[in-house]
């Protein structure tokens, strides 16, 4: 074994061991870890769930962060409900409620969000795809193309078509059970994707048909879409190339997000995916993340209520993302009106992300998640990553079942829009 292999093996083992040991708090709560949204406890709790597949038993806070608003000031009513056996609770949700088209149901109300090849390593992408297959759910390619290595998992991979059209080819649309149009993303609404030069290696450039080590900024918006009618043409285009595919429309959360949602529905979308401002994994201007478009907690009720008032709520699936960190966030999002959620950051935390935000610079992520560096990428073994993600979602499923059983609800679908089960904290 050469030195490089030895070095990779050494650090890989140390990192994996470290993220197993840290949640025990044997060495205390690391002071520099975390922030208001992803607190140190929440990060360690996620490590623990990814290790054990169960909820933390040492008192680590695994339900909320400390942001002082949104999901973090919502809780659950805790009296007057007849508890049922949590094993009997059904967490599955359908992803197509229209009469036509393929019926797809996922066994838990979660699938993986778009993180592109280039923004994340191929190994992490593979870990996500493998986990999606094992959980019988989905993960999205993001807008960086469709590496050949994930083709074996194509029944569980959503092809994203975004404004840069990076790597969008006829066959990648034909592979997909679901095609996702990304009109906008919550972390940089109205600005298009960023992949900074350092991460555009030869492989990434080849996949995106661009030049190496040149920053890639996706245009915004789709320059072929300036109306709902134009959007309908896009949907028709996908349906022509792949008539079996469901269509998801990912949008951000502007003031008129309810109008955008209804427009997407009438253009033929099966899934309306709203992405709030506080999430995101890729590089984004700090000013955009904090200040543009509303948080998902406020957008969900707005869209849900509007779809109800228009009489189409039961014909379309509403998926929420952008700052969904925990099983409790998912349940709260559903109680606010979503059918299910998309998560991405939590998957990264499951394999060692510290939410430090240095992903965009130089070699990228220090533990091999959001990097294209060939050495760092090897820290994530796809099989190890798959197990961690599956474990995390297994633990989350237990928490979701516990919440639902506590309210006497037999299905997660019965939780949708049940704001009466939530309470607010000051």
């Amino acid at each position: 074994m050469g030195n490089l292999e030895l070095i990779v093996e050494k650090h890989s083992e140390r990192i994996h061991h470290g993220i197993e040991v840290l949640p025990s708090l044997r060495h205390g709560l690391p002071e520099g870890l975390g922030n208001k949204r992803w607190t140190a406890e929440l990060i360690l709790a996620t490590y623990e769930m990814a290790l054990t597949g169960d909820l933390p038993k040492n008192g680590l806070e695994y339900r909320t962060g400390n942001s002082g608003g949104g999901f973090d000031v919502l809780g659950w009513k805790n009296n007057g409900f007849a508890r049922i056996d949590q094993e009997s609770v059904d967490l599955s949700i359908p992803l197509n409620k229209r009469e036509d088209g393929k019926k797809i149901t996922i066994p838990l109300p979660i699938y993986g969000g778009g993180m592109s090849f280039g923004s994340i390593s191929l190994n992490f992408m593979l870990a996500r795809a493998r986990a999606a297959k094992r959980l019988d759910t989905f993960m999205s390619t993001g807008e960086g193309g469709y590496p050949d290595e994930i083709v074996p998992y194509r029944d569980h991979v959503i092809t994203q078509v975004a404004t840069g059209m990076f790597g969008v080819r006829e066959e990648t649309i034909q592979y997909a059970p679901i095609v996702e149009f990304k009109y906008a993303q919550g972390a940089k609404p109205g600005l298009g994707g960023h992949l900074l030069a350092d991460k555009v290696t030869s492989e990434v450039a080849k996949m995106r048909e661009s030049s190496m080590f040149t920053s890639l900024y996706s245009p915004f918006p789709f320059h072929s879409v300036y109306s709902v009618e134009d959007h309908k043409k896009h949907v028709d285009w996908i349906k022509t190339v792949n008539p079996r595919a469901l269509v998801s429309v990912k949008v951000s959360t502007p003031t008129d997000v309810d109008m955008v949602a209804i427009g997407s529905y009438y253009a033929g979308a099966n899934i309306i995916h709203i992405d709030g401002g506080y999430g995101g994994t890729g590089a984004a201007p700090e000013i955009a993340k904090k200040n543009i478009a509303m948080p998902i907690e406020y957008a969900i009720p707005k869209v849900h209520d509007y779809l109800v008032s228009e009489g189409v709520r039961d014909d379309v699936v509403l998926i929420a993302s952008g700052g969904i960190r925990t099983a409790d966030d998912i349940a709260k999002a559903i109680a606010l009106g979503a059918d299910g959620c998309v998560v991405a950051t939590a998957e990264a935390v499951a394999v060692g992300c510290t939410h430090c935000g240095n992903c965009e610079r130089g070699r990228g992520c220090q533990v091999g998640i959001t990097t294209t560096d060939p050495e760092l990428s090897r820290f994530i073994d796809p099989e190890w990553g798959e197990t961690r993600i599956v474990n995390l979602f297994t633990a989350w499923s237990k928490r979701l079942r516990s919440i639902l059983a506590g309210f006497g609800l037999e299905s997660v679908r019965d939780l949708r829009g049940r704001r009466d089960l939530l309470v607010r904290y000051k």
């Binding site: 030195n3 050494k10 140390r14 990192i15 470290g18 840290l22 060495h27 690391p30 002071e31 520099g32 870890l33 922030n35 949204r37 992803w38 942001s67 002082g68 608003g69 973090d72 919502l74 809780g75 009513k77 923004s119 009109y183 600005l191 900024y217 245009p219 918006p221 879409v225 300036y226 109306s227 951000s252 502007p254 003031t255 955008v260 506080y278 995101g280 590089a283 984004a284 201007p285 700090e286 000013i287 955009a288 904090k290 200040n291 543009i292 478009a293 509303m294 948080p295 406020y298 957008a299 510290t354 430090c356 935000g357 992903c359 965009e360 220090q366 533990v367 959001t370 009466d420 309470v423």
Partner: protein
């Protein structure tokens, strides 16, 4: 028609851009993170790894940091703390040895208003001239008070958007300063008050504290940027005299007449000088400085009817107004703007807002609340690496101490700051699909308020008991 190349004049059009360039800190800044190792455990670990990897030096000494924190001669025994970005990999790999925390000197930065994060942001913007970009989503508090409780709108499908950021489509950040007549009066056409267009909706307000070097840096920067700076100094500076906005009073009128400025301000609270200044300085734009408080709307309407060309509405350095029960300037600004709109006066005057404008995002948000442009104050001193020595809420009790600087260095830092804020303003405008910052003024409909959204979206959710 065939054009004769000899007679075709080249276009004089130049797209506005701000020339930023790296201008490193001259005074050492605190390390954000404090990295330390338990030295005995570190030594023991090295011995253990030496055995494990059979004295293979390259493997044993390969360090758990990609930023070079342990790249010094003594490795983990003397970490290069300034290189730490808080990625925590060393703690993940060696939790029993390594500790990383925010340093005490970092945590002490600023005052109750200026957070350490905000100080670092301004330092980085002033030194690099680049927009702060990071990965992995937002990390701060949810919404909040004042400007933090406002989100700007975005548009899914309209132009110009991203294209504006890279200059393929032009987004104007120019604003006009001066009185705008509501109709043309041919009898006064030679005596109409002037207006001046400035390329960014930001000026330098009066310095909270200053030295000759700092004032010179501000003057040079204002001139380079095509903007203005407000100063009580009666003698124009040697640098950027054409960009000076003097603050006039009874005693200084003659001096102002001898050395006229394009814009002049006066303190409306202390004296009713408008008629005198406008009479003595017919080619100057006369702006009344008005403190934001309960009666600011009424005062603004009265002054506008009197004919002032502009209003400079200000709060304290922490962004609070001077009401008996102080509120954030975003709220007071909205009230004044809306009162002027209601009275049919708003379009006649320019409103400059200042006090607590400390981050790039505050510029569009103040404009949404009704300002035409903003003034910055303590931010100037932060960009120039002044020292915080306590709370700085107003000019009389300024606890920020300017350091000795090279004016050219300082000017470039301020140019960088404006460049970065300009680019971030373009980001906000482009996301909204707006071509012109003037369209943003008072457009509350293109913003979202935390308090309102919370009540709408969480309506019917009971309070926890």
């Amino acid at each position: 028609m065939v054009l004769d190349p000899e007679t075709v004049k080249p276009s004089k059009y130049e797209r506005f851009r701000i020339e930023t360039k790296p201008t490193p800190h001259v005074y050492q800044i605190p390390n954000k993170f404090d990295v330390s190792a338990r030295k005995v455990r570190l030594a023991a670990m090295l011995v253990r790894e030496a055995f494990q990897f059979k004295l293979n030096k390259e493997v044993v000494l390969s360090r758990p940091c990609i930023y070079g924190v342990f790249g010094g001669r003594f490795g983990g025994f003397k970490p290069l703390k300034h290189k730490c970005v808080g990625c925590m990999r060393c703690v993940q790999e060696y939790p029993h040895i390594m500790t990383v925390k925010h340093s005490d000197s970092y945590k002490r930065l600023g005052d109750s208003f200026w957070t350490p994060e905000a100080v670092f942001t301004i330092w980085n913007e002033a030194s690099t001239g680049k927009i702060p970009v990071k990965g992995m989503g937002y990390k701060g508090a949810f919404g909040g008070e004042g400007f933090d409780g406002i989100w700007t709108d975005m548009s899914e499908i309209v132009r110009p958007t991203r294209d504006g950021v890279y200059g393929r489509e032009y987004i104007s950040t120019s604003v006009d300063v001066g009185r705008k007549p509501t109709s043309v009066d041919f009898s006064k056409i030679d005596r109409s008050s002037p207006t001046i267009t400035i390329p960014v909706p930001i000026i330098f307000d009066k310095l909270p504290a200053g030295s000759g070097d700092v004032r010179a840096a501000v003057g040079i920067a204002a001139e380079k940027l095509g903007t203005f700076y407000v100063s009580r100094q009666r003698t124009p500076f040697d640098f950027g005299p054409a960009s000076l906005i003097p603050v006039g009073d009874e005693e200084s009128i003659q001096e102002l007449v001898e050395r006229p400025s394009a814009i002049v301000e006066y303190d409306a609270e202390k004296s009713d000088l408008f008629e005198k200044l406008a009479g003595a300085l017919p080619s100057s734009i006369v702006i009344a400085r008005v403190p934001l408080r309960e009666d600011a709307g009424m005062v603004a309407c009265k002054l506008t009817r009197q004919g002032v060309h502009g209003l400079h509405l200000y709060g304290d350095y922490h962004g609070q107004d001077y009401s008996k029960e102080p509120k954030h300037i975003s709220a007071s600004l909205k009230e004044v703007h809306q009162q002027l709109v209601k009275e049919g006066l708003r379009d006649q005057v320019t409103i400059i807002a200042s006090g607590g404008i400390t981050l790039a995002e505050h510029v569009p948000k103040a404009i949404i609340c009704g300002a035409d442009l903003v003034g910055i104050d303590t931010t100037i001193l932060v960009a120039l690496q002044s020292e915080f020595r306590g709370e700085t809420r107003d000019r009389a009790n300024c606890q920020m101490k300017p350091r000795k600087i090279d004016p050219e260095w300082g000017a470039q830092r301020l140019v960088n700051l404006f460049g970065v804020w300009h680019d971030q303003l373009i980001e906000i405008l482009s996301a909204m699909g707006m071509r012109d910052v003037r369209r943003l003024r008072g457009d509350i409909g293109r913003s979202m308020m935390d308090a309102e959204l919370r009540e709408q979206s969480f309506k019917g959710i009971a309070w926890a008991t």
